[in-house]
Symmetry: D3
Subunit: 329 residues, 6 copies
């Protein structure tokens, strides 16, 4: 039997697949018939279907299958009016030995389209080239290196945007690139601004603007959730703590640190988005706009990709709470 | 010549007074006549009047008198249609020797009606009696003792409420007293709440809720102003930093510290008042209400005291942006 | 057969119980199978389950069972994946004779944890002790006595807080106690306020602040609903009417009555919460804060008690529209 | 010497005029020169000018002239860069005997362009013809007759719209006329609405919608101000009180009274405009729109009349807080 | 077999009917049983019911029946707990020949209660009589005539108000009538307003205020939807385009055209309702109020007609997002 | 006598200067002394001073000097407590002959720091290179060429940002450059977006986003003001008209034109900023962010340049309505 990924399976094809169980709900039909609704996924496809109580898997499903666990399934993939389903033939938990057949837990989670290692390297290269003053550069490097492993797999959000492994890194890199452009542009554009634009600080702020999300969000196989400190304090303040902690061991001058701290807590601009202060420096202003555009653009791409409404306009039931124009009318 | 306070002087009385110069503005009348408008104050009375350029003090005023400096004046106090004035006969800067005549810089600043030392002692007594767990108690004690000297003289705000020396302490003590009452009340009222109300945390939160103002506001003889970190970060986050710093040396359990940090940043409740999170614990809810009432009540008292509008209603031009009913119609 | 309360029944236990029928809906499954969904409750437990059309009770259920009627049931209590159910063996309407077996309609409604009579007595004692001027005291006493029977059983709201028999009295007493504390505190704190705080008025306002709810809400066995005048006029204005009516026969001075009327309509403070005027007197300010805290605290207690979300945080789908921190993470 | 009105005087003309003193302020120039700024008016013109302390009137002005008092002046009217002024030659208080020369206090106040008596009569005629059910008709008649004298001279507001004697009556009549039209129109338009539109109630509501202003506003020669109950309770609730009081002696059915009360408190529609409830009946909806249009239209007329900004657009500093297009560009 | 309309059929009656198929959804019960849910309607009644896969119509339904197509059905009309249903005996598509039996596509769509031709004629008569200046009159006439066929059948909205064939015309006529009244009234009321009220412009604006809806909304048998330009640009701007296009061929003076354009884009007044400018002319103000009242009144009529909540108050789940008082309590 | 610019004059220096008269107000001191306050400016300095009525220029000033007229002055430049002044020795209107001495009206207006011609050329070069499809390119080119003369001198606003000659061009070019970067970036970043990002449309939208300002604002020597159509319609709609007019003669496909029109009216995003629709396409989203950042950044630069408040923070009285951090504390 071939080993495929779930995403590769064609309708009515039988194959072995490595999948993550994402959900198991005990439900009952209106006529009182009990069943379990179970979900399995790999990195890009998720299927969800019922196990009826007269299914041969009914008992095993109820007693043994556990969301958050990886399984090797032999199954036939079906598409019908009821959505995609799996006709399960065999099922067992993944073992260490499956690595030999190519199993890797990361293959069952949605992933950034970009290679995390390469993104991380690009980010550190930007730090190297763009943050001239050693203390600030060391501060950013130190935080990046400390959290390298987390950043390679962390999402940027639970649902809204870049909600996949490596999403935080992907978003951060994109914002940083835009900020490099904008910092160069506006520094040249207003050469007499006093004090002059601190281009290194713009870059440092771009890289660290969402860094607190490594503590705000907990990534688990079943999905991303808020940590207690994430819910009670929030990533902007947690990110500022990280900058302060790193600065305690590096000789960053007080005003630069203060400007960085301000940028981190002000980058969402509006109080109703959680920023206790609006951007009060040119550096904070630039990072806010680069960040906000990147998040909104990503959302719009996702809406255009996922919306199934016929016609030239999407539904307004999406993360943007508005219609998007698809065209082709 | 008797030494009086400025507040004690009767119309047309001549006396020696110790005063603080609060302002000096170089102005010109519409007809082009230049003059200086100068202000002097003691703890409860402030006068502001012109020094014309044909005054015998004109040159000395322009070249020597400096806002923020304490002076000994010999002067006649006048009240006229032009407001209260001083007819200056002699003027010199205060010297150390004036202490013998009763000079004390504090006598020239508005003061709390209550003795700062006694208020501070009451606060520490409450800590002693009401915060049972030693780590949390030590955390609060340590912060209070570290900032004792500042607290004895710090205001609670620039303008809005308790804007005078000792005002922060006065407001903090009042909020703490109310919180002691409310914590006892609601702990008794809902004995089965799970987890139970942390009465010690309510008291700790009440005492520390505005502690960040010692870094947010700078008190100077000429008036209170925002520091750079006050404007860019704000007292709620600065207060949380103080709690975290103190906790770093004391074995406070992680959840208690998290709840305290949350309380400090959430105590103003609304995002537009600067709280990035709403109160998400019963302890934070209590402190918010006790604090908000105390501030608003103080404002209403001040409006009733200061408003000069005739009739049963005050003007709406005040810190509350609304009319207050004085009655007696 | 033992007579138990519904709340006392253990799974699979059979017993006789007195219950209130709370709902009966005629539904049909997606496959076209008709059934009735019926609900029964006592003071603390409510169960809801289907009567299929092949049930022996099908005809009687359709033709005879009536929401709002009390029944004596013999039934087996079951807990299953479909929720709690009753396997009905016998059913008849309650008769007067059942009182001998302990039936009391109040036992089938959710109740305050406190004895209504004792709460009422405490409230009248506070009136006696705390409202010094006879006319105002008489006004409050007269309203309390006129509505005594209603107050002993009235809820404070349909859903939001204190939504149970005696809930209005429980909330009123709690607010009044806090107001007694705050009135004493602030009267002492600002002895020179002009006019001085009217402590009796604070207490009168606390007691009467929600009194209009006796006309705004109609309590019926099936649930609490808004009356026509409740929906069209609202409890704040209706409460003011009650105060004016009572005052018409008592010699309350005009300004005190006006201050009381203002307090009643202003106690929710914000226009979007229905107050046409903000609190414009110190007395109204105190009652607003005591009331708002008491309601919000009650809601938070209820959220902590009822929320079933796993982890340290509750869902945000609750009366507060926000997460509450439960901790224990 | 001819007796003219102030409005009739031509530049440099001398005449005798009856005027109301509207203001007297004791001021001082920047050079310390004291003077009084005094204001006098008749129904349509107001002048305001200084009495210098070397004026022959200086002493009499300071000691005797009193705002709110009517005077007979002999004066020359001047127009200059300093605005209109009066060169006072003689001045004495008005006496009863001046009535023979045509003095009437009303001639010194801004007046409705329409005859108050005629407006009142038209209003009562509409009641007669348009409110068919006797109890409701009597209720409205009774309130109108009770307040006839006040209505003939009362303004509709302090500043915003119809802020002149008879203004309340003028606004009420205009709203009522529109409501007669709209009630006929929509009753015919939706003949099957259930319950049918109560046309008499629309008219009653139109007539009484602002009636509470007779208690909310106090009209004095110096200007209109809010009464204590106006500020603390507001005209919508005070008007409802008047309707309830009148109904107490007339056999109005309960639902009609409730609908009328609702209409009175809901007619401003938005909570931020003081309505605790939105219009929940068709009758209330109609009165709201007729009222709001009439007020806004009057404001726009006034802005077009009073604004002095050159060009096709008015300033945005006016009661509408927006520009109005005058055109003619 | 008699030919009836669907609305005329009595329970259990068999008849031939001409109907429009409005929906066909492929669904599955929770037990996995597939079925189609189909909808048919005439002008006032709509029924929706399942075609089970064991129905004799199952195959034909799946393969042939098409929403948006007109059918002649022979069926028995049933009312049951499952709602109204049709027991289909025969079904075929409507043919041209059916016109002989009275078929007309319009009979299957909800219709204005008024005759479209008569409404259109009244509108053109108003133009004739009320718009005095030939260029403006021609502009309005030209737009009306160009879109006559569309106007006879266009709705005014998808859901909110006048959402039926002829609804745009019905709403436009009603608003225009009110505007004729108000223009006469206010022109007479403020004869000195400068510039004077342009009564012809009020009428032109009333007629054209929603004309852009002929391009914003696409009416199809299955329902009304937004066009691409409707969603991206909106009817106010599209209506202004129509006025500009028509004016290009008529000698309308520039200021009149500008005032008309402004009126069209400002008639919803609030930015959150899509008006980029508030009404800045008296003409725009009048049309806004007449329009807003007409829409809201229509909604309230519909809520009173359609709401099924027992008791004196409707639900708040309706187009007005508030309760409406039905009375009869 | 040397011919200098006003900006070049040193204190007490005498010179000949070409200036624009910007204001003349007839005022009076509080003591009744009449004078004229007059203003003159060149491109970067403006002075404003009194001409007393005993000045030798008093009569000529009153009768002859006219705001908006260019003058050649011989004067001594003074700086004093009263601000900068000119001691006028000679004054006459500028004549054609003065061109020989270097007079150019543009030298008296504030100017962009960049050469307008070069900016215009860069913009057209971008059009050439970046808008690939000929119809869209022609549309943009045609609008640019038609308005070339205006664009070389037009401001972007009255006060808020880029409020100087060439300001509209400067802002447009800056936004366009950012958009070129962002369009390339996001097109590469999301290569699979469907439909793909229309990079040419982003550039076209950037160039035209504010083009309607050439009709919204009227630039006059005395200052920039709104035109009638600017105030009543606004630049977003006027810009859309320009695009439509240009498209009428070019074969732009309907959907591209619709997307461009949408972008122009949606580019301010929020209804309260005048956009009737939010950005519903990726192209509109990009232009919105590039535009908003450029405007806000320019404002922040101006606040940092112009604010005179001592200390590390600016005042909050500025175009951003918030403090900006200057640092250097």
């Amino acid at each position: 039997m071939p080993i495929l990924t779930l995403s590769e399976m064609a309708p009515d094809q039988e194959a072995d697949v490595f999948v993550l169980m994402t959900s198991k709900e005990e439900l009952t039909t209106r006529t009182g018939k009990p069943y379990f609704k179970v979900g399995f996924r790999d990195g890009t496809r998720e299927v969800s279907f019922p196990i009826w109580d007269n299914s041969p898997w009914a008992v095993e499903c109820r007693d043994g299958w556990t969301p958050g666990v990886f399984y090797k399934l032999r199954a036939v993939y079906r598409e019908s009016n009821y959505g995609a389903q799996l006709d399960v033939r065999k099922i067992r938990e993944v073992t260490d030995a499956d690595a030999a057949d190519g199993f890797d837990p990361a293959m069952c989670l949605p992933q950034s389209r970009f290679d995390p290692g390469a993104m991380f390297d690009e980010l550190t290269a930007i730090v190297e080239q763009r943050i001239e003053r050693p203390p600030l550069r060391k501060l950013v490097e130190s935080i990046l290196q400390t959290h390298r492993e987390t950043l390679l797999v962390h999402p940027a959000a639970r649902h809204n945007h870049h909600a996949f492994a490596g999403g935080l890194l992907e978003h951060t890199l994109s914002v940083t690139r835009t900020c490099v452009y904008l910092a160069d542009k506006y520094a040249e554009y207003y050469p007499d601004m006093e004090p002059p634009l601190d281009k290194g600080l713009v870059v440092a702020g771009a890289i660290l603007h969402d860094i607190g999300k490594v503590h705000e969000l907990a990534q688990q196989p079943e999905g991303t959730s808020y940590t207690a400190e994430g819910a009670l304090i929030g990533h902007m303040l947690l990110g500022r703590d990280m900058a302060r902690r790193a600065a305690a061991e590096i000789d960053v001058d007080a005003e630069t640190l203060l400007r960085l701290e301000h940028l981190l807590i002000a980058h969402q601009r509006l109080p109703e988005w959680g920023s206790p202060k609006p951007p009060m420096t040119p550096e904070a202003l630039i990072v806010h706009y680069a960040d906000d555009l990147d998040a909104k653009y990503h959302m719009m791409v996702a809406v255009l990709r996922d919306d199934k409404t016929p016609g030239p306009l999407t539904s307004r039931k999406n993360v943007l709470y508005q219609q998007v124009f698809r065209g082709g009318s």
